[in-house]
Symmetry: D2
Subunit: 134 residues, 4 copies
C-alpha cells in the first residue's frame, strides 16, 4: 500500500489553525511526514520565545499527516511534548515517524529541529483509528 | 504574598500567539488562573474540529499565567494533554491550578470545558522556575 | 450497570507483580477504584526513597481495576506520572477515577496520597477496551 | 569528564525494588545506560502479560543510571510511557539516552526491546539535578 498523498495534502491543507500559523506540509508517506514553518512575530510568547503551543501545533499537524496516511481517519487521543531549547527565530522542521500501528490505535513521535539541526522539542502521541462508516 | 496581577496580565498580554488565537486571560491568582476563547473558523482542523494545538495553546497560556504568579519567571519543561471530546463551536474556559510548588520546579494542571461544562481536554505541565538574575 | 466486583477482585488478585509489591485492592466501582500499600524496604531506591516504579505500579494496578470494571477487558495504551513528593515510609492510598469512557477507549487519573493526605504522585492513563471475542 | 561507573553501579545496586524485580544494570556512560531482565512469573499481571509497572520500573531504573552519571544527584520529576507490544516471556533490554542536559534539569528517553529486537515500550522522563550540599 502507498500513502494517498493527494488526499493527505488536501486534508491537512484544510487545517485552518496550522495554515494561519504559517505551517506547511512538505512530505507525507505511510506513517511518516515532514512539515516546516518560519518563525515570525505571531509565534512569540510574552518572554519573546516561540510559544509552546506553536511547537505543539506543528508537531500535532505533522503527526496528523503521518497518522492519516494509513487508510483510516485518525484522531489524537493524547500527546506529550518536551521542550528542549527555547528559540525565537529561524525555520523549524518537524519530522513524524510511526512507533506502532495496530488495527484501531497507533502511536507517533515527532522531532522538531532548527536550521542548525538543534533539537527544539520532542513530541509523542497516541491516535485512535476510526472504522470507516458502512 | 499576593499575585502581582498587573504584571501577569501584562506578561500574558504580550503573548502574540495566544492573542492571534483569540485567547484572553480572565483571572490570575497565586498558582491559579482562568482563560477563555470563542471557537471560530481559524481554530478548526481538516476534519472540522478544533485543532489539538488550539487546546494545547489555551492550556499552556493559562498555565503560564498560573506559574508566573509565584514571583519567578517560569518556563514549561514538558506537558501532556488528553483530548476528551471533539468540539467545533462555542466558548471554551480553561482553569489552571497548582499541583506542587518547589523552589526551582512546579507543576500545574488545566481543565478545559465548554459552555455545557463538558470536559474537553485535560492538561498537565512541569515548569522550571528561573532564579532572578543578580 | 453495576461493576462485577468479584470478577475485578479476582482479576487484580492474579496480578503477581502488584501482589509481590504488597499492593492490595480495597474498593472497585464502575470506573473507580481504591488500592493501598505499606512502604517497606523492598520499595526503596538507591537514595532511600520509594522507587518511581513502585508509585507507577500502584497507580497502574488501581487504574486496571477501574478500567476493567466497565464490562470489557481494558489494557493501557500509555500513561504519564508526575512525582510530587519523595517519601520513604508509611501507607500509600491510590484513588482512580474515570476521565472519559468511549466504546473502545477510556482514560483514568489516579492520585496517590500518604497518611497525612499529602499528594505523593499524580498519574493519568489512556486504555484500549477490547471487543469481546465472538 | 567520564562517568564514575563504580559509583553508578553502587547507587543502582542499592535499588531494592529493581533488585527484587530481577533487573540489573549492564552498562553506564555519560548520559546513557543499559539494563536488562528475564521475565518470570513474578512480573505478570492478571491477564498473563508483563505488568505495566514492570516496564516502567525497568525504564526508570536505567534512566536513573543515565541521569546520575553526570556528576549530580538526579531525581525524576515526571515520566511518560507508551506500551507498544504486550509480552509474557523472554529477556528485556532497556537502553537509556540523553535528550538534553542543562544545569538543573535534564531529559532522557528509554527504549525497551525483547530478544527479537521488537520494541516493547518507549519511555521519556524529565529529571531535576540537585545542587551538591555545601
Amino acid at each position: 500500500m502507498e500513502a494517498d498523498n493527494a488526499k493527505i495534502f488536501e486534508l491537512l491543507g484544510k487545517d485552518q489553525f496550522a495554515k494561519n500559523s504559517n505551517m506547511r506540509l512538505i512530505e507525507a508517506g505511510l506513517g511518516s511526514a515532514i512539515a516546516e514553518m518560519e518563525i515570525d512575530q505571531r509565534h512569540l510568547n510574552g518572554l519573546g520565545s516561540v510559544q509552546g503551543g506553536v511547537l505543539f501545533t506543528l508537531a500535532d499537524f505533522v503527526c496528523a499527516a503521518a497518522s492519516n496516511s494509513q487508510g483510516k481517519v485518525a484522531v489524537s487521543l493524547d500527546a506529550s511534548i518536551s521542550f528542549v531549547k527555547a528559540i525565537s527565530k529561524g525555520k523549524l522542521t518537524a519530522v513524524a515517524s510511526e512507533i506502532y500501528l495496530r488495527r484501531t490505535v497507533a502511536a507517533y513521535k515527532v522531532e522538531i529541529r532548527n536550521e542548525e539541526n538543534d533539537l527544539i522539542a520532542v513530541f509523542q502521541s497516541t491516535s485512535y483509528r476510526k472504522e470507516p462508516k458502512q
